[in-house]
């Protein structure tokens, strides 16, 4: 079974394309959706500060991640662990498929604040791919990308 991904440009000055997956999120006191970049360079699935804000993720009840800070795209950001997360996404038949992640990392804003952080995307990392046995296909030339069960 395949999980289709969306390919598009993400930056006005950059001609290359990125691949995105829309995820429904359920966790303690959290229910909403994000659209995240699939990034095989990241070992962790991360929720960006921007997405954490509109999801109203309650940082105060989240324990710090280990390590407490992560370096992402050149920013050093406070990191928190959101436990027992259910993620939903559409397969090629437009059926909702759900998987459980024991932990997802949620990123806070840097101190001092930097406005560029608002543009940092959420990330689907290799933990998502490996733990749920997905292969990742990416053909940027023909604009085809999907996850597939292995």
């Amino acid at each position: 079974m395949r999980i289709p991904l969306i390919i598009r440009r993400a930056y006005p000055g950059e001609p290359r394309v990125y691949t995105f997956l829309t995820l429904a999120i359920r966790a303690m006191r959290v229910n909403g959706q994000i659209t995240a970049i699939v990034d095989t360079g990241s070992p962790r699935t991360l929720i960006a500060p921007r997405d954490a804000t509109y999801l109203k993720i309650p940082f105060k009840i989240l324990p710090p991640s280990s390590p407490k800070e992560l370096r992402v795209a050149g920013f050093v950001l406070p990191a928190y662990s959101m436990k027992d997360v259910t993620l939903g996404f559409l397969d090629e038949n437009k059926t909702m498929r759900r998987i459980n992640m024991p932990i997802i990392t949620v990123l806070g804003r840097p101190v001092p604040y930097r406005a560029e952080i608002e543009h940092l995307p959420s990330i689907v990392g290799t933990d998502f791919l490996e733990d749920n046995k997905f292969a990742f296909y990416f053909d940027p030339h023909n604009k085809i990308s999907y996850l597939e069960d292995v």
């Binding site: 598009r8 993400a10 829309t22 229910n31 804000t53 795209a73 939903g88 559409l90 909702m96």
Partner: protein, 88 residues
Amino acid sequence: MFGEMKYKAEEEELESIKAIERDSKWLSEHFEEYKQIYEGKIIAVKDQKILSAAANIQELSNKIEEMGEDPRWVYITSIPPKGIVFIL
């Protein structure tokens, strides 16, 4: 299992994700057109239209809520300023 919060019903959630994927695809097809207008903004897309835009997510969330929409179930993304490319 999920504390006291009431979650969207599964069927309703499915329809929301389908709509958000349609909006995400729509933006991918119109990125060149809208990058000029919304460069540097966080944008919300609903029903294949730009619903609102703002310089930061809190301002955008407030605008969306004033319009009677729930930002948690609207496609939200950004068009970074020219000159910014994140190497993740």
